[in-house]
Assembly symmetry: C2
Homo-oligomer: 584 residues x 2
Amino acid sequence: MALPRLLVRALHRAAAAAAPSAPDFNSFVPRTNTCGELRSAHVGQKVTLYGWVQYQRQGLFLVLRDFQGLTQVIIPQDEAHSHVRELLSGAPLESVLRVTGTVSPRPLGQENPKMPTGDIEVKAETAEILNSCKKLPFEIKDFIKKSEALRMQYRYLDLRSSRLQSALRLRSRLVMSMRHYLCNLHGFVDVETPTLFKRTPGGAKEFLVPSREPGKFYSLPQSPQQFKQLLMVGGLDRYFQVARCYRDEGSRPDRQPEFTQEALAEYGTDKPDTRFGMKIVDVSDVLRRSNVHFVQNALTYPHGSIRAICIPQGVRYLTNKDLESLKESAKSQFNQEIMEIIHRPDGSLKSLLTKFLGEKEKSELIQALNMQEGDVVLLAAGEHEQVCRALGALRLLSASLLEAAGLALRDPTAFHFLWVVDFPLFLPKAENPTELESAHHPFTAPHPSDASLLYSDPTKVRSQHYDLVLNGNEVGGGSIRIHSAEQQRFVLEKVLKEDSEVLSHLIEALELGAPPHGGIALGLDRLISLIVDAPSIRDVIAFPKSFRGRDLMGNAPDYVTPEELEPYHIQVSWPLEEKEAKKN
Amino acid sequence: MALPRLLVRALHRAAAAAAPSAPDFNSFVPRTNTCGELRSAHVGQKVTLYGWVQYQRQGLFLVLRDFQGLTQVIIPQDEAHSHVRELLSGAPLESVLRVTGTVSPRPLGQENPKMPTGDIEVKAETAEILNSCKKLPFEIKDFIKKSEALRMQYRYLDLRSSRLQSALRLRSRLVMSMRHYLCNLHGFVDVETPTLFKRTPGGAKEFLVPSREPGKFYSLPQSPQQFKQLLMVGGLDRYFQVARCYRDEGSRPDRQPEFTQEALAEYGTDKPDTRFGMKIVDVSDVLRRSNVHFVQNALTYPHGSIRAICIPQGVRYLTNKDLESLKESAKSQFNQEIMEIIHRPDGSLKSLLTKFLGEKEKSELIQALNMQEGDVVLLAAGEHEQVCRALGALRLLSASLLEAAGLALRDPTAFHFLWVVDFPLFLPKAENPTELESAHHPFTAPHPSDASLLYSDPTKVRSQHYDLVLNGNEVGGGSIRIHSAEQQRFVLEKVLKEDSEVLSHLIEALELGAPPHGGIALGLDRLISLIVDAPSIRDVIAFPKSFRGRDLMGNAPDYVTPEELEPYHIQVSWPLEEKEAKKN
């Protein structure tokens, strides 16, 4: 599939558009230039700029900022301009100003080559404060050090930072570029689907919206899942949408099926970051004949395994404390003991293990792990999946530690995509393992080779679901869907034991000429945060919600009056203690 | 402003892209061509097509349809292909097929010049039914005659019609073109704003969304109103969004202030369709000295007025029944009597009025209304606004009647845009006229010339709101916003007597360096329905809700179990009778 190629191309196109040409102004705009535009060639011109006061110094000059850049403004000192001097010297930081003046070259030696407008300055002649700024709740330049809650509360101030400005502007161009690719180059049709719909079976994470019909509710769908299928049935063969997905995160966490063996054995995860090596190596055979108790013990498990990762130059880049923290993390997160082996510069191995190993075994171990002098190996013995997951986590943790210590390991400009396939179609229910639930959702089609297993042994059926992974992060997922009404009914009723009545419209649609179809959804927030190398998806969303789903700026959600609930025929069921508190 | 120009350009660009090039296929797609693609040049080629069975005749041939067009498939009649014959003859209409065969020229004389693929046919060699279609609930070709409810229930079948396919595809290209203009040409930034927010004061039309915190609710904002202001404050100076607007239509209808006198006097509406004349003409002065009782009576009103419209060639194109229905409509909708004057082919006037008029008055009347022989004049006397509104409605009704009778009056390809300005900032509350409410919303800025009136006589203040009208329909509206915190507080607290606390985040944002700002929102559904000349906005929405806000396909809203309400701390307040019914 061409999707990763699309993404890389879109990124390049968006990056190339990173410096949009100066915007046109119409006759309603008195501004002659933006704050990022003036150069030596403008010297002598009379200009009018608008912007925020970024900085002001001793009544001598100030720096004006707009969305395009910064310009230095010289405050006039002569008596004739005393009014302008007073105004500009007194304007609080972040006030909005108009400044009219003449472009002049900066005095020799005072040019600032780091600033695109650093060759010139504007000698102010008239000025106006359009909106004076009250004292800021904190200094904007220290903003990033402030608490997340404070930054969220004053999100509109944080938005003025170059960090968020460039992230949001890049996001806009990137999405535009994707649209161009899909819509203009490949004939996809952009269709908006409803977000007020009805509850999907098992849709525990869907928000409810009370209607004016007593007892009836809409639901905010987590995704346009059903609608995109119905669009395919409706002959809109190449559909796309930049869609909202509502997920009530307050409910139980995702239980992602993660058991793809290929990837798991080498990377300890089904979402491997393949930008660097340090793969997990099976050393069971090397150690099988050794006389080490915990090794022998591990190999008695049904899925016993001895595996290890080799950390390059670990001796130089990892402290003892680092190694301890790695081992502790494996213990606390995966209940997995880790043994370390250090390849000394003199070629010998240092480990609690070594006294149990012969020279042949030592040399086989060095070879199997491709150990170099100065490397550190972390070894785990136990049940296969637990061992792999623990080492997979340690692989990522130690990569971060190596990088923090100065070893360039992962190329931040590299984009390694990979597809994860062959998921199971069904999983045993956590609460009752004799019953099955869909690994993803009940509309995913079975793998064609496993179709007959659906009727004999549904737990063995692989699905036609696929995930797209970028640098170790899941950025998308999708599936080929069931297009046979009979198969869909069988899955819902016989395998999942669900009432198919609530999906009767979808099943009926499958009966009326549904073509075979499938699709994919990308998680834009995650994808773009990876592309701009942002630590959190909140850095690429204009107004993100807090972890608990709150809007800290506007204070949502909030109480409403009983009168406002009346048209919707609902009332609040107050928990007992609050009821009591309200009474008093 | 350049907006109407943008829209017309976008339309032309989108229309020019009306025939997208044949889509590329990748290696996963066995299809060699689409059903709209084959021509004489392809004769002799072996092709594989996929599509729906559009038509099948006597086991001899069938027509295959996909998103690109139609192709005629010849069913083989020889014994070697009996299996293919059986399959193709037996495939129900709207089944999904694969057909592989050879492109052949149609026999001489059997070409179909109306069909882009009408020169060829495909001689089927192998075929496969991918999904057989159950008996359709109705014949698709008769679909348009079915009830709206049935069409909504089977929306995915309706979507296969060329009518909806082309409307939705044009809409997609049009929106893409707008995005291109804003984003690529003018540096606008596409930003998604949250749709789960908190209730705005007076937001009676906002849906509520219960949260997991007892008693607390989100609100689905009617528009991203507050967020777009905060983006301006945050330095995202050129922002746009194709946004969802949620409006709970179940509540009281719009009370639009409609009193712009310019437009009202000539067109009887503030949203005039200026594609045709038939303007309202003031004939008060002509008739003032006449001895007609109802005329004199009307002129005694404080705002008394005699006005008329002249229907060109009304004698020829309007029946007596038409004229009666026009008069009845003015009576029932506006309580306005209408008098007709017919300009006879012989030059004389026929009317109840004429016997009271002298020759001079008759000739002045003919001149004032520019009456030609065969024209019909509708005249109304009474209070100014009532007269204008009644005649404005009759102007549109008679235009439709003339067109139905065959007179081309309004050019369906013409796009007449106009701006409506100078709305009042406040209106007396319907329920208590001594109190004021915002004509649009409390964030609209006063007209600069009227700023001081805000403090002395707020009812006289014009707003900086503007509406965009296309061919007589409101397609957009916007305003310059208040950027002074002090002014915003005054409007909320002193004029509107509202609690400004709930908007404290916005007022604080205005204090922290908010630039002067404004914007506009277009109603895409309405705009596109006008462009494609669709009778309803439902014809340009993939999955529209019914008039009462129901989704008839999926049956939303719907009942949910009390258990599903529990996490949201709400319960249904059943109306008494339903409560009783539930008990029994």
